[in-house]
Structure formats: structure tokens, C-alpha cells
């Protein structure tokens, strides 16, 4: 009965309850204390409110207070370790490599940059008092940030090389970085965020990327997370879209114990297009939360979101997708789909696709499904002599691979599909 009442009390949120801090909270607070004056506001905010619980709407399905058990000390980087780390995490795709090892940018290990773009190891600080109280990733980042990159791409620059920000952790440490990326008008580029660990260390990373697309630019942004199964990652991508800009975001999560990936897009330019595709492979004991927030603030923009989730063992998947359409954003076309496959009885998936619409001349839709592998499909394959395990793998692959098929950046699609194969070998 107690469990049941919990369910029914579900919507009622009360605020400001935590008094006694959990070990996770204490670890965070002591790091913030060490971080000095830059963290004073965040320190105060978190020591008062604690980390968010399910009563905080934005964290409803990711009870950070319970889930975050530890937060290790901030990492320091040594050059030799960095070299080994980069060698261990070789990028299978030819890229311009910008290595960020244990939170520090290693300029001397970076590949030569193409022309018409600039990378500097510095980050603009943000005023923590401007950050919303439920934006825990932003708050933690502003308090703990140790560095980051400022990347600027010139107007009219067409950069053919892929630019890859490889975040590698080598020890059980934490790191926080903040990147600023500005893409000039009419420029085009492909950028990748990779997140890796060299061993099975329980590292914790927090990265915030601020991405600005000027008018008529075309950008593909890839988030590829393959950290160890004990690691924790907090990621936030904040995007501002200019006029007629086109942005494609591909996101693949195939590792970590705890992930919260936020994608927040402000659609500020008329005629812009946004396409987000994501695959989350959620293994045993993992908790992966992808939260998107799209603000359509101007007329005539298009957005599509497609997410596929596969949950194995007693993994837990979360998708929260919010689409806001402002009153002046007439002619918005926004679509969102989130399909999930649960592979075991202990696996869980929760979805909260939200539409908030204040304009009338719009087309908005969302769909969400949760189910097991279709018995009929399985039967069809097995009746043709394909063994059950293989049949299942084929069906799971078909379910997720669709998202990355037919991409303009074919090589990336192929690479992401390879990773799906690997994951299935280990978890399927």
C-alpha cells in the first residue's frame, strides 16, 4: 500500500525538504568549497536545496539525490598520461583531434587545424545567479569548471575535416569543462564530442557546450558517449539557431552507469531546421536520461526528434522531451518520436514527451511507445532457421540502426552502427 500511495502522490511536489546531506551531496559540496569564490553561489544553492529529487519536475525520473553516490576529486593532467590516453582511445574516423584529457586541453597533442577556424583554450565564465535553480548541470558546471575551448568558425568557411573534441578520463576523478562554439554565417562544419575512459574507473564528467549557429550555417553535431560502465556523465548542449540555419544532432549513449544528457535549443531564426536523432543503449545497472527542450520562438521553423532506446538487464531509461511553441511562432512544424525496447523483465523505461503550444497555426505531434520485441517478428525469423539469439540481435539492430541510416555523413553512421554491434555482443 505504501508503494501504491507513492504512485498516487506522484504529481504533488513539495520543495526544500532535504536537511541531511547524502554522501553524494557531501562530496559535491566539499568540491565546491575547494573551488573557491567562483562556486559560492552554487555552494549555497546546493547546500540549501540539496541535489534534485523526483519532486523537482525537471528531474522527475532521475532522482539525483539517490543516484549520485560519489563525486571524486577534480583531476589534474600530466603530459605522459595524456599521450598514452590518446593512443588508447584512437578515433576510428579520420578527424582533427582536439584532446581534452582529464578535463585539460592538450594543445601540443592536437592535430593541425584547418584554415578559417580558431581554437583557443579558454572559456567564458557564466554568472551562476542567472542559472535556473533546477538546472543542476549548469550550476555544477559553473562552480567546478576548470577549462574549455572557444571555437570560432569564420563566415563562409566550409570545413571538410571533422573536428573532434575527445574527452578522455584516465583515473577515478571528476572534470568539468565548458566550450563555446560559434559558427559564422553560411559556414558549414561537422563537430564531434567524444566521451571516453581508458579503464573502468568511476570517473564523473560534466560538460556544457554553448553552440551558436549564425544565419544560413549548416552544422552536424555528434555526441558519442562510450565511457566505462561505472562512470557518470552530465552533459548539456545549449544551442541558438539563426535564420535559415540547419542543425543535425546525433547522439549515441553506449556506456556509463549514470547519464543525464540535456539538449536545449532556442530556435531564434526564421526558416531554420533542426533534426535530432538519438540512440541510447542502456546496459545492466545503467541509468540513462536524455532530456530535450526545444523553444520555437520565431515563425516557420521545423524540428524533428527521433529517439530509440534499448534497455537490457535492470537498466533504466528516461526520455523527457519538451517542445514549446511561442505565440508568434506560427507555422511551426515540430515532431517528436521516442520508441523503446525493453529486453528484460527488470528493465524500465519512463517517458515524458511534453507539448506546450501557444500558437494556433502549427503542426505538432509526439509519439511514444514502449514494448518488448514483437513475438511475430521473432517467429518469422526463427521459422526460417535463424537461431533465437541471432534473430533477436537482428531485430534490435533493425530497431535502432534506422535512426543513423541514410545520414549525409555516412562514415559516422557506419561507425555508430558498429558500436551498436559491440554493445549487443556484450548486452544483448
Amino acid at each position: 500500500m505504501a508503494d501504491f500511495q507513492d504512485l498516487t502522490l506522484f504529481w504533488i511536489k513539495e520543495m526544500n525538504i532535504p536537511v541531511k546531506h547524502t554522501t553524494g551531496e557531501e562530496a559535491v559540496l566539499s568540491l565546491l568549497q575547494d573551488a573557491g569564490p567562483q562556486a559560492s553561489h552554487v555552494l549555497e544553492s546546493i547546500s540549501q536545496r540539496g541535489l534534485p529529487t523526483r519532486r523537482v519536475e525537471a528531474w522527475h525520473y532521475t532522482d539525483l539525490r539517490n543516484l549520485l553516490k560519489h563525486y571524486p576529486a577534480v583531476a589534474s593532467s600530466s603530459e605522459s598520461a595524456a599521450k598514452n590516453a590518446l593512443a588508447a582511445c584512437k578515433n576510428p574516423l579520420p578527424c582533427v583531434e582536439l584532446p581534452i584529457i582529464n578535463g585539460g586541453y592538450c594543445a601540443e597533442l592536437a592535430t593541425t587545424l584547418p584554415q578559417k577556424m580558431l581554437v583557443a583554450s579558454q572559456t567564458q565564465t557564466v554568472d551562476a545567479t542567472d542559472i535556473a535553480s533546477d538546472d543542476t548541470i549548469g550550476l555544477l558546471n559553473s562552480g567546478l569548471v576548470t577549462g574549455g575551448l572557444t571555437i570560432a568558425v569564420n563566415d563562409d568557411a566550409h570545413i571538410d575535416d571533422r573536428i573532434c573534441l575527445s574527452h578522455i578520463m584516465t583515473e577515478e576523478n571528476s572534470a568539468a569543462s565548458r566550450h563555446n562554439v560559434k559558427i559564422g554565417a553560411r559556414a558549414s562544419i561537422t563537430l564531434m564530442e567524444r566521451h571516453l575512459t581508458t579503464n573502468s574507473a568511476a570517473a564523473v564528467t560534466n560538460t556544457v557546450c554553448d553552440l551558436e549557429l549564425a544565419d544560413n550555417s549548416i552544422v552536424t553535431w555528434v555526441i558519442d558517449q562510450q565511457m566505462s560502465e561505472l562512470a557518470t556523465r552530465f552533459g548539456q548542449l545549449n544551442v541558438k539557431l539563426g535564420k535559415q540555419a540547419e542543425l543535425t544532432i546525433l547522439s549515441l549513449n553506449s556506456g556509463c552507469k549514470l547519464v543525464r544528457q540535456e539538449i536545449r535549443v532556442e530556435v531564434l531564426g526564421e526558416g531554420s531546421r533542426l533534426n535530432i536523432s538519438g540512440v541510447n543503449l542502456i546496459g545492466h545497472d545503467a541509468h540513462i536520461d536524455v532530456t530535450t527542450k526545444l523553444d520555437h520562438l520565431v515563425p516557420n521553423t521545423v524540428s524533428t526528434e527521433t529517439f530509440r532506446n534499448v534497455v537490457a538487464g535492470n537498466g533504466r531509461g528516461v526520455f523527457q522531451g519538451q517542445i514549446n511553441v511561442a505565440q508568434i511562432a506560427q507555422g511551426t512544424d515540430a515532431r517528436m518520436a521516442c520508441n523503446s525496447l525493453l529486453l528484460s523483465d527488470a528493465s524500465e523505461f519512463s517517458a515524458k514527451p511534453e507539448l506546450e503550444i501557444f500558437a494556433d497555426d502549427v503542426q505538432c505531434a509526439h509519439g511514444a511507445t514502449v514494448s518488448d520485441i514483437d513475438e511475430n517478428h521473432l517467429f518469422y525469423l526463427m521459422a526460417r532457421g535463424i537461431p533465437e539469439k541471432l534473430s533477436r540481435d537482428m531485430l534490435i539492430k533493425a530497431f535502432v540502426a534506422e535512426v543513423f541510416d541514410g545520414l549525409a555523413v555516412e562514415q559516422i553512421g557506419k561507425e555508430l552502427n558498429n558500436r551498436i554491434d559491440n554493445w549487443l555482443d556484450n548486452n544483448g
Binding site: 501504491f4 500511495q5 504512485l7 498516487t8 502522490l9 506522484f10 504529481w11 504533488i12 511536489k13 513539495e14 519536475e57 522527475h60 525520473y61 505565440q327 506560427q330 523503446s340 525493453l342 529486453l343 528484460s344 523483465d345 527488470a346 528493465s347 524500465e348 523505461f349 519512463s350 517517458a351 515524458k352 514527451p353 511534453e354 507539448l355 506546450e356 503550444i357 501557444f358 500558437a359 494556433d360 497555426d361 502549427v362 503542426q363 505538432c364 505531434a365 509526439h366 509519439g367 511514444a368 511507445t369 514502449v370 514494448s371 518488448d372
Partner: protein, 490 residues
């Protein structure tokens, strides 16, 4: 084509009708002292001649309510309610001697119900439409005025009476089931209701009985500054069936009035309950002045195997609606259904939806929600579908569509989907759009005037829900939708 004709007629009536239930009945009434305190609760309990255990139960609820906080998560905004400014009990004079026969009832009251289109004299009902008899429990402010067809129902073994009477006559049943679906401290308004509820209906369908007629309760708030706190409890024993209708109206007043109800349905093995609501409280004027604050907790418990509960609602009234008729699918193979049309116009705010909690094996649920927002209104669908770890083979289908008329209104969809085992199969889809120019053009081009064309398209939009309503309600509902959307065209 009949439906189309009806729609056109309904739209024609718009000019004349507006909110035709907005009149005030001039009747002397007796009220409890203004405000809320233990004394007021004792007063209500004494008025109702309640046994001691009931009073204790109320006081306990009141004490718990004092420790609770008003929920603020819903997408509605309103000035803070001063719970000490409200009258918690108001009854037409002379109701102390109840229960009444129809002849004792003040003719003014009977006239009121005639005006509302609800004849209370059985012979009048019989003289009306053939084969469509409905037993009515009429609740006026805080008391039940009269309950019709009780004798005929009791022959079938069905108990249908005001809840205040049930507390005295069937205390065992009431004690066993009341608050077993919605616990006293479930939420702020349910706790308040437990403390001060005044009347409502009690329905008990014994094993294997198919209730011989539709049961219905008609709620009317009349007095100024009163709150209505109704409580309805329906119990369907093994293998029984009942269809229950609920209607509500209130006079047009400048002040906001509070309506906080609790409705509990209990369905045992193989039982089926069909609960339909046409909610037509006064919505306030177009600037948002006046109107009813409707904070309602409705929940059904499908306790037995293969039990079935169906909620159907048409929401056109209230300044603010905060209501989530839910189903707890506890029995294996139980089914829950929710069909809803929520129409908002003017400055109305609706935050409504459902919860389907799958706890038993092989349970299934279906949600069809149609929201129509016009004027400057905000219309939110908020729903939860969850499958418990042991709820094997739970099945849900949800469809919520929103239609926007005009560019000042908002439509929001906030579903919570939670699957805790792999055998669950959940599908959810939602769309938001306006009436497409193509559809409108198609109608106009065939010579249908714009207003009728819009009514026609809206009718098509809500058809899936309308067809689930009992006959008598379907016609009324269609008219209501037309009336509610008045002035939103063009």
C-alpha cells in the same frame, strides 16, 4: 446527416443561449457560519445527524488538512483562495426533517430543476420520453433535495440514496468502502472534502444485478460564496453493471465559487461501471471574472478480476478545472477507459487528464482525449500511464489531440509514461493543430457558412468520444460544445 443537422441547430441556438443555466433561485437558505473550523465541522455533522465515528473521521481529516499545502504543479493560476471566506454548508430552509418526499419539496426548487430540464416528479418523467427513464439524485448546494425511483430500484436490490442518508442507514458499507480508493490525505482538496463534505450519492449494486435504469446525480450550486463539497461512492459487486451520469451547473456570479468533490468507484470481479459527466459549471465571463473553481479527485478501483470502469467526460464549464479521473487496474484482466472532451473558451483554464495504474496481470487501458481551446484559454492534458513490475502484459493506447481556435489560446500535453517490465505495451500519440484551411475551404466551397463549417469540423474531431456517451447525454454534449465555442469563430 442527423448529426450535422443537430450541430447546425445547436449553433443557431447559440445566440439565444449563452450560459442559460446562469439564473439564481431565490430561496431562503440556512448556512453554517462563514469560515472553516472544528465548530463548523461539528455543525455540519450535527445537521446531518451523523454518528460519532463520522464526526471523528471528519475532524481527523480536518487536522490533517491543516498540515497540508495547496498543490501548485498544475498549469493553472488563480488568486489565493481564502478558505475562511467560504460558507461550507448551505441548505434550503426546512431541510432538517429529511428525508423528504417529493410533495414536501419547495415548489421553487422544483421549478429550478424544471428550468434546468430535469423533472423530478416520477409521473412527469414517465410522461416524457418513452423507454428513457433515469433515476435522479438532485443535490442543491449542500443537501440532496430528492432522489427519484428509489422504490423501483430497491426492488432490484440497488441502493441509490444521498450519501448522508447512507451514513446513517448503511454505516457498515460506508465505513468499509469510503476513502478506500482516495485516502483521506491523498491530496489537499480530498482532505478538505473529507472534513466538510455535505452531500452526494451513494450507489450499491449487489452481486449479479444489472441496474435496471441509468442513475444520475445533478449538482447545483446556488448560494453566494458557498463551496460545494460533494462525495460520491459507487460500489459494484461481482458481476453487476451500472451506468451513472453526473451533471452540474451554477448561477452566473461575479465571485468565484469552490467545488471540491471526491468520487470513488469500486468494481469487483466481472463488474462494470460506466461513469459519464457533463460538467457545465459557470465558466466566468470572458474576462475571467467569476466562475467555479473545480478541484476534483475522481478515482476508480478495479478490484476484482475482469472488472471494467469507463470514464466519459465532457468538460465545458468552470473557470478552473483540476481533475484527473483515474483507474487503478488492480484485478487481473481489468480494463480502464477514459474518453474526454475538454472545451475551453474565454479565460478558462483546464488542467485535466487521467491516470491509468496497471497493477494486475493482463490489464488494459485506453485513453482518448480531445482538447479544444479557443479565446484566451489554456487547455492542458496531463496523464500518467504506468505498469507495475508485476503487471505482466499490461496494454495501453493513448491518443490526445488538441485543436486550437484563435491565436490567443494555448494547448499543452504532458503525459507521463512509465513501463517497469518488458511485457508492457504502451503506445502514446498526441497531435496539436488548428482547423486546417483545406477542411474549411472544402466546406465553404459547398456553401456551408463558416460558423456551421467550424461546428461541423469540431464535431468530427470529438466524434470518437461523443459516441461513447449515453444517448441522452450525447445530444446535450454536442449542443454544449457548440455553445462553449461561441464567439471564437472568425
Amino acid at each position: 446527416m442527423v448529426a450535422i443537422k443537430e450541430t447546425i441547430e445547436a449553433v443557431k441556438e447559440i445566440e439565444a443561449e449563452k450560459y442559460k443555466y446562469g439564473f439564481v433561485t431565490d430561496i431562503e437558505s440556512e448556512k453554517a457560519p462563514r469560515g472553516l473550523s472544528e465548530e463548523v465541522i461539528r455543525f455540519i455533522s450535527a445537521k446531518k445527524k451523523e454518528p460519532e465515528w463520522m464526526l471523528e473521521w471528519r475532524l481527523d481529516a480536518y487536522r490533517r488538512w491543516l498540515t497540508m499545502r495547496e498543490p501548485d504543479w498544475a498549469r493553472v493560476s488563480y488568486p489565493k483562495i481564502d478558505f475562511d471566506e467560504i460558507y461550507y454548508y448551505a441548505a434550503p430552509k426546512g431541510f432538517d426533517e429529511g428525508p423528504n418526499t417529493i410533495d414536501d419539496v419547495d415548489p421553487e426548487l422544483l421549478k429550478t430543476y424544471e428550468k434546468l430540464g430535469i423533472p423530478l416528479r416520477e409521473q412527469e418523467i414517465l410522461a416524457g420520453v418513452k423507454n428513457s427513464r433515469i433515476a435522479v439524485d438532485a443535490v442543491f448546494d449542500s443537501v440532496s433535495v430528492v432522489t427519484t425511483f428509489r422504490e423501483e430500484l430497491s426492488k432490484a436490490g440497488v441502493i441509490f440514496c444521498p450519501i448522508s442518508e447512507a451514513i446513517i442507514e448503511y454505516p457498515d458499507l460506508v465505513r468499509k468502502y469510503m476513502a478506500s480508493v482516495v485516502p483521506v490525505s491523498d491530496n489537499y482538496y480530498s482532505a478538505l472534502n473529507c472534513a466538510v463534505f455535505t452531500d452526494g450519492s451513494f450507489v450499491y449494486i449487489p452481486e449479479g444485478v444489472r441496474c435496471p435504469m441509468e442513475l444520475s446525480t445533478y449538482f447545483r450550486i446556488n448560494e453566494l460564496n458557498t463551496g460545494q463539497f460533494e462525495r460520491t461512492l459507487i460500489i459494484a459487486e461481482k458481476g453487476s453493471y451500472v451506468s451513472y451520469l453526473e451533471g452540474c451547473t451554477a448561477p452566473q456570479r461575479d465571485e468565484n465559487q469552490l467545488h471540491a468533490a471526491v468520487v470513488e468507484l469500486i468494481a469487483m470481479e466481472d463488474a462494470e461501471i460506466k461513469y459519464s459527466t457533463v460538467q457545465n459549471w459557470y465558466p466566468g465571463d470572458e474576462n475571467g471574472k467569476g466562475g467555479i473553481y473545480n478541484f476534483v479527485t475522481k478515482r476508480a478501483d478495479c478490484r476484482g478480476r475482469n472488472s471494467k470502469v469507463m470514464w466519459t467526460q465532457v468538460e465545458t464549464g468552470s473557470a478552473i478545472t483540476w481533475k484527473y479521473p483515474s483507474c487503478i487496474l488492480r484485478g487481473d484482466g481489468s480494463q480502464g477507459e477514459f474518453y474526454s472532451i475538454a472545451v475551453s473558451n474565454g479565460a478558462q483554464q483546464v488542467d485535466s487528464g487521467t491516470k491509468m495504474l496497471h497493477l494486475g496481470k493482463n490489464t488494459s487501458s485506453r485513453i482518448i482525449s480531445k482538447g479544444i481551446s479557443a479565446g484566451r484559454s489554456q487547455n492542458t492534458y496531463r496523464g500518467q500511464v504506468s505498469a507495475h513490475r508485476k503487471a505482466m502484459d499490461a496494454r495501453n493506447f493513448t491518443q490526445c489531440d488538441s485543436l486550437l481556435i484563435g491565436n490567443q489560446c494555448g494547448a499543452h500535453t504532458i503525459p507521463y509514461i512509465e513501463a517497469k517490465n518488458s511485457s508492457a505495451q504502451f503506445e502514446h500519440e498526441a497531435t496539436t493543430s488548428k482547423i486546417s484551411d483545406d477542411q474549411l475551404f472544402y466546406c465553404l466551397q459547398r456553401g456551408i457558412p463558416e460558423e456551421e463549417a467550424i461546428a461541423l469540423i469540431v464535431n468530427g474531431f470529438v466524434k470518437e468520444v461523443i459516441q461513447e456517451l449515453p444517448m441522452e447525454f450525447a445530444v446535450e454534449a454536442q449542443k454544449l460544445i457548440g455553445i462553449s465555442l461561441e464567439g471564437s469563430v472568425g
